[in-house]
């Protein structure tokens, strides 16, 4: 192992889920630091993500949630720190590098191209060509094959309301669009899926649908990072909660160890999380 795992208080994790934490983390960051001139965006943050868990990242605006995630997924190049994927040191220079390594990101907005159909969106920049000379010489797309597999990807997430893969994404509801973005991540993310505020623009019912998809993804054994401002969603979906505060990590809690009020108190600095307190309570 190239990297020692962070201490983990297993006692606050429900018994049936503890086996997840027997394995080594799928994605780790150590001493993640980013600085723009005199502004410190991240001040040496450590993070571990395990396969089959939903790790929520919460924090106030400007606490460094998105910055941390962007450093892990190649959207930003950190000033310091190391990223490990499956224990191996990796250096992502562009989001494509992370994507090729099996890390998919679903952005809050800008996740899909409204004018293109669902299948085209799922396969955007990963188009598959027809077999034979039609594909190799004429570069012809395998539209039927992509539509069929796109349909399967969407079905796998338990989405019944999207039937026609040839329909333009702008004809879909907000929740369905997000479903397309998540399906895309699920279809190609072999290791980690990062969701940045996936429910921010959605109504109650659609948010529920997206949370169900997230749980579905977790069942398939992916490591999931969920960035969210919505505390009820975090407490519903997350296994562990990483709290960012002022560019650093204020602690990692679980929905069982702390309630929402305590979580928000730690997030805003009204309360300090003492690691001993967590272990002591066990």
């Amino acid at each position: 192992m190239a990297v020692a795992r962070l201490p983990l208080s297993i006692d606050h994790i429900p018994e049936e889920k503890r086996s997840i934490y027997d394995a080594e983390p799928v994605l780790s960051g150590r001493g993640m630091r980013i600085q723009w001139g005199h502004v410190v965006g991240l001040d040496g943050v450590d993070i571990d993500l395990y396969k089959g868990e939903v790790l929520a990242v919460i924090g106030d605006n400007g606490a460094g949630k998105s910055t941390l995630i962007k450093c892990l997924t190649g959207a930003y190049e950190p000033t310091g720190g190391t990223v490990y994927l499956d224990g191996q040191e990796v250096h992502f220079k562009r989001p494509q590098d992370a994507r090729e390594a099996g890390i998919e990101t679903v952005y809050q907005q800008l996740a899909v191209i409204p004018a293109l159909d669902i299948a085209s969106n799922l396969y955007l920049a990963r188009e598959e060509r027809r077999a034979g000379p039609l594909g190799s010489v004429f570069r012809m797309l395998d539209k039927r094959g992509m539509a069929r597999r796109a349909g399967e990807s969407v079905q796998n997430l338990g989405i019944q309301t999207i039937q026609n893969m040839g329909q333009a994404v702008e004809n879909l509801s907000g929740g369905q669009r997000q479903a397309v973005a998540v399906a895309r991540a699920a279809a190609f993310g072999s290791k980690v899926v990062v969701l940045d505020e996936p429910t921010a623009a959605l109504g109650v019912k659609e948010s529920g649908m997206v949370l169900d998809m997230i749980k579905q993804l977790r069942e398939s054994g992916l490591g999931i990072i969920l960035i969210s401002h919505n505390m009820p969603h975090v407490w519903e979906a997350a296994d562990r909660i990483h709290i960012q505060r002022l560019g650093g990590c204020a602690g990692v809690i679980t929905p069982q160890s702390h309630d929402m009020g305590e979580g928000v108190a730690i997030m805003t600095g009204a309360k300090k999380l003492v690691q001993d307190q967590l272990d002591g309570a066990a």
């Binding site: 800008l110 191209i113 309301t161």
Partner: protein, 339 residues
């Protein structure tokens, strides 16, 4: 973004639609339907006004007259699909045409070589537009407004501003003006080449990954980039391919006009944009089909030809085209609101 209204939220398939919404949806999927309807109606109307309109001879002439604008409109469609606009269409075409003709006449260069240099120059001119748009991050309107003047000036300076008659040019450069007749329908090789261009570019846009990327970059450049589409490279390629097409059109233009003249096609910019817009391609990028542009180019020429055959003052044609442009853009705005 859809509203949060909860029961409508996740149910697309079972939704009730009014007839108007169904029309809106159909136009959204096939934006070339409305120009096609206009084309068919105007054909019927002009045939009633003057039966000579619907003869093979008239059609052959109509097709030849619209071919150059139709070719230029292919490049314009590519650029407009990326939410850009190309005002240097005419300038690049004239530059390529004058360079080809001058090299052949004054330089005594073989026709093929002059053609290759002319088309190459047009391609480079497109590349320059692309570099200014992607690297300098200048708005396409400003870039091509600038290069419009620059390329026009170069063409005039290089050629001395005078026309070169076809009789002074090698046969190869005039070849696209030659043709054949099927029944009474006379077609030129230039027309066939333009049809071939439509087939090739239409295939690339609708059947290849690059085509998808053009639409994606035009619709949501940032989302496309985050999805892994090399947005800047695609944009650069679009302007370059457009330049190449203008170069080919310049060759066809020599054949069509029987000469290389600096003012051979003074309204190229607006005519090509008009064809694209009437053809149902959105000026906001990401929406439209190349077949629509072809229909748009035919509509413009149909009005010109039909009105003159009907003995109507040409100013009515301008008025009709102006109305069509406004109607086309209004329809585009309406179908973009489709839910």
């Amino acid at each position: 973004m859809s509203t949060a209204s909860s029961d409508a939220a996740a149910q697309f398939s079972g939704r009730q639609q009014s007839a108007l919404q169904r029309v809106q949806n159909a136009l959204h999927l096939y934006p070339w339907i409305s120009p096609l309807v206009i084309l068919i109606l105007s054909f019927i109307a002009f045939t009633i006004l003057n039966p000579r309109f619907a003869t093979a001879g008239s059609m052959g002439l109509l097709i030849q007259q619209m071919a150059i604008v139709a070719a230029l409109a292919i490049g314009q469609t590519l650029v407009i699909l990326t939410a850009g606009i190309d005002l240097s269409v005419g300038a690049i075409t004239v530059l390529a045409m004058m360079v080809m003709a001058t090299l052949a006449k004054d330089g005594g260069m073989p026709g093929l070589l002059a053609l290759i240099i002319g088309v190459g120059l047009a391609t480079l001119a497109g590349l320059l537009n692309g570099i200014l748009v992607t690297r300098m991050k200048l708005p396409p309107f400003i870039v091509t407004l600038g290069t419009l003047s620059i390329f026009t000036a170069i063409a005039l300076l290089y050629s001395g501003g005078s026309s070169i008659q076809a009789s002074h040019l090698p046969a190869f450069l005039n070849w696209l003006g030659k043709g054949f007749s099927i029944g009474g329908l006379r077609l030129t090789y230039g027309v066939l080449l333009v049809i071939l261009l439509y087939a090739v570019v239409g295939f690339v846009l609708s059947q290849t990954a690059w085509g998808r990327h053009v639409y994606a970059v035009g619709d949501e450049p940032e989302a496309a980039r985050l999805s892994g589409v090399p947005s800047r490279r695609v944009l650069l390629q679009v302007y370059t391919v457009a330049g190449f097409i203008y170069g080919i059109a310049a060759w066809a233009l020599i054949g069509r006009s029987g000469a290389a003249t600096p003012n051979a096609i003074p309204t190229a910019n607006l005519d090509s944009i008009t064809a694209v817009v009437i053809g149902g391609t959105s000026l906001f990028g990401g929406r439209g089909r190349l077949i629509g542009t072809l229909i748009g180019a035919i509509i413009v020429q149909t009005f010109a030809f039909g009105l003159s055959l009907a003995g109507v003052n040409q100013q009515w044609r301008l008025l009709a085209i102006g109305l069509l442009v406004i109607i086309a853009v209004s329809i585009d705005q309406w179908i973009r609101k489709v839910k």
